[in-house]
Symmetry: D2
Subunit: 347 residues, 4 copies
């Protein structure tokens, strides 16, 4: 079958033929219809220090996808949950089900997590085998949308963790695809004020289109001052920090109200100087680090929001390429002008 | 000034002249623009056993209102929060600030609660004096809407207590004004399925208009079966029980999914036979009794939802009368054809 | 191997030889050291309507046990979590891992739950095969205690659900073994007042011994009045209702403070008349139905409490019998004089 | 009356005569029996940059105290809650009751907070006037203990925020008085492992005496390695960071398990470099900044824990001085050899 492979410990990716995966007893074999290209895939392409430290080539990359069930292992078949022909997506974190996080509602923090497309073969391919327990039926959601439910789920997790979003005031810092999804979910959840800031005008336009009440340019506007002005001087209830930049952290802590919350998803590449006294302790802030998606509350919430039409992530999809266009896909992401980029694999 | 008064321990209400209230040191004097008429006022009119056991005539009735600040007691003035001319509404529960509920976030359950229009003079009058700490600025919300924020707050409290409404499935049993408000708030909060049931077609139409995805007639439809069918057979995450009828309780417990939640606001006039084993224990349900509005989280959430346009309660207002039309107002409520009924007092 | 079997749809149990179970691929085979006898086993012995409606004889009974791993299925072995010789106990609810409750932190409410000793062969036998994912290492806890962690977990679940027990005031209604465990856990969690009531003086003595500050006899004392008197007139923060009697429900609702919580575990055999207005709604109570144990937060908390010596359930064990003494074990339970009764099977 | 006064913007404190305070209408006048000396008082003595930026001399210092009601303002008297002769302590944060934090359960983060002994006259004096709403009856707790309930409350707030402490594993970093109180409260709440670390052997001994299972010397022991070793390799559920040092922060983030919690109370005097990716985001940590005490859940919990004998803070009191001994009290605190230091004022 066709697959996008990291063949060796060096930059670049290769479209090549590889053997078809064989589903284990509890696996589901899925023909991939569409797959999302993520910033992580750009790190893998560029073979940065994170990628070099984690991947063991050769590996098929790609972790966001949706497709059609084409075969089942015997135990998966016996369970009777999935059948050939089902349209599905899947959680890409394969977890142990045994560690303390797994056993206490934090499986997304499993200490033995294996991520598809990183630690084992992934989804930029004609076929992928997944444990049935990671697979989710699409229930009528198109596979285009199913292909990006992994990052939409990051947005849902960031927007909704900590509860009480309805009527709340919020600021999203960084309007990449996940930031845009968070902004849209906050609006769908009844947030009374959704601010979104990004230096990039294309991204600001995407955020505005998906539901931000107001978008801000930190290059020319004082984000903290505006956040305070629009909240009676006190600051916002919730900040979703999606930029990973020290400046984003500073803005987040300053813009949150006393007793507010900062959910951090943007992955920094370096450390941040934090004034814990002024910014966290005296303000009584709660910070929360967002990894992945809650398994499976986030997926269920997301599937319902999309299925009910309460939230539509599709306006964030800006580019589509065939599997063979992976280099072009990586290129538009690198250029910073893309929203979400999709590979159309078997349609 | 003019006021609607219960003059003696018997049925009926009288529109009459009474002395103007004099604000205490920490009070705000408010000229009432509009006031909402509540089912409670019907009980008071009819002098049922509850009313006879609680009110001590003569008392000015009415507890839902909005108006304009016309004077302040010296301490209220010194605080600097309110000024003459401010448009405001108010929480009608006057609480002690000292008991365990008051001191632990449950002031709406204060053991020394005094309710305006019930335990002390109320709002169906030209003027009312309220403790400044009970008063809320309208921040641009019209006084018509301000006049019904008390029952809207009941709906917000019922819909949002327990969290996690975004993406959830819900059933509202009983589509009186508060049930309709709950349905609309659930929709505004991103619930993926809002069912609403009532025997009365007028009320079903109001619920549909404010946001229920589907309205059900328990007289001709199997509410539990439909709730299960629309939720993959499992039942809804949340039931808002607004009817107070034993049949409503039975439907609520049967329609909620295992691990689900039933928030009960409808006040029964008699007891209900409950099968705790089958309905509560084996299903792992959570039940919550809704009294009033959280002081003041509910008010803040409500003011923001309305102010941001995320939720508009105005379609539920079906009738308007002058203060002198109190008998007519009570009449349309008794007839069961009304949504929310407003007295226009000083406009 | 030896086993206690319900051979036919009629009263009684039989100690007999049955074939040894063969572990499936993901199973662990356990030699049973000790097993707890539960009220459920009494229902099964007596073949009451619940038992007749649920069990399909022949079935090996017993669902509370601990023992030693003697073999593993190939997948269970490959996981590397358990090894031959490990001392273990197990959660007796076998769940589907796929339904909404399973996927949202409520696996104890799985819609496809199979209970060992009820829906499939159980633990009153020399050997039992269990899915590895249901097995818990004892980590130094003796198998005597391991044999009763199922009901101890019921007590932990009832005592701790809803949080904030530290410093709280509580009333346990019904001092059977699970009620006693709940009382002890509340004390271990820092509850400032633990009241426990039971008509039976033996049970009151057990409750006092394990940590209740004061035990009450509802036959001669006014439980509600005393609960209020000892809480400044307001009532207790938490009631654990373990009796299942309508009188217990009435006491629970009356003894809980406004804004308080009633966790219900006692399984009623008939309905209860509830005054929802007075008892639940105007008091703002939260009710929660307790089924089983949270999988697996309850087990982890319990194992740590016992392992650390913060809570010791052993004083509640009053009787021990060999496997062949099952009739005597049922007898002392039926007589109402027992605390927890254990079968010593392979020691 | 006698009082310890900061007379001018410079180092030192002066014991002098000042006019007696006159209680306002809603105030209670209290004769101080005992008062606790805090690290904050040391900052004020030394007139560091924080003190110089905040205090406006002359001001009576001291914010931790207990004493006897000797007079009431007319409104406080009318409320009937306090009477002359009551033994009381008080929350030292005077709040506005109107801002968003005040109105949503975070009054300890009031944007208009005035702290006694800092922003207005305090408690190192014969008499202090306090708003009745800040006063708490001691209900039998001795005034010695009442005098330190402010810092005990800091410990309770840090230990219990986030819930689920029962059975949990915890690490307290920094064993000053508040760290010791947190360790003792964690033990009282049923934590299964309470580690406490401090460089100072006196402080480690105090922590061990009040309930830590094991004390650690970060000067000679690898705190993170030991925390992991004692928790099956995963790290502790909760870290209470009381040191305020960057090294304490690093230890906290490394010692917490994935999905764990770090409650930060120690006030840093400088910034900390934080690796948000490694330490917060990929671990899914929750951080919470602790200011003051929850008003008034913390006080109620604390009063009950102490009143029930579940937690006794008295072993942490190491020194007692008369009011005139303030310089000696400051001296022992500065020497770092003290636990809690008390001024005995009117006994």
């Amino acid at each position: 079958m066709r697959a996008v492979v990291k063949p060796a410990p060096e930059a670049g990716l290769q479209v090549t033929e590889v053997p078809e995966p064989r589903p284990g007893a509890r696996d589901v074999l899925i023909r991939v219809h569409a797959a999302g290209v993520c910033g992580t895939d750009l790190h893998i392409w560029e073979w940065d220090s994170w990628a070099a430290g984690r991947l063991r080539p050769p590996v098929v990359v790609g972790h966001e996808f949706a497709g059609e069930v084409v075969a089942l292992g015997p135990e998966a078949e016996a369970e009777g949950i999935f059948a050939v022909g089902d349209l599905v997506t899947a959680e890409g974190h394969i977890v142990c089900h045994d560690c303390i996080p797994c056993r206490t509602g934090n499986a997304h923090l499993c200490v033995r997590t294996q991520i598809i497309g990183v630690d084992r073969d992934g989804a930029f391919a004609d076929l992928i085998a997944m444990p049935a327990s990671n697979v989710m039926k699409l229930d009528g959601i198109p596979t285009d949308i199913g292909a990006i439910m992994d990052p939409v789920g990051n947005g849902v997790h960031t927007a909704l963790e900590g509860g009480d979003v309805t009527g709340a005031t919020a600021l999203v810092i960084g309007c990449g695809p996940i930031g845009c999804f968070a902004a849209g979910v906050l609006r769908a959840a009844g947030a009374s004020l959704v601010l979104a800031s990004d230096f990039n005008p294309t991204r600001r336009a995407l955020a505005a289109g998906i539901g931000a009440h107001r978008v801000l340019d930190p290059g020319s506007e004082d984000v903290v001052a505006i956040a305070r002005e629009l909240t009676g001087g006190i600051g916002v209830d919730l900040v979703c920090e999606m930029s990973g930049h020290p400046a984003g952290h500073a803005t987040a802590f300053a813009a949150a109200r006393p007793g507010g919350r900062v959910n951090l998803l943007g992955t920094p590449s370096r450390t941040t100087e934090v004034d814990f006294a002024r910014d966290i302790i005296f303000k009584g802030l709660t910070l929360y680090g967002v990894t992945g998606r809650r398994m499976y509350q986030t997926w269920i919430t997301m599937r319902r929001l999309i299925g009910a039409g309460a939230f539509d992530p599709s306006p964030i999809i800006t580019h589509r390429f065939p599997l063979e266009g992976i280099a072009d896909a990586i290129g538009v992401i690198k250029a910073g002008t893309a929203g979400k980029v999709i590979l159309e694999i078997n349609r």
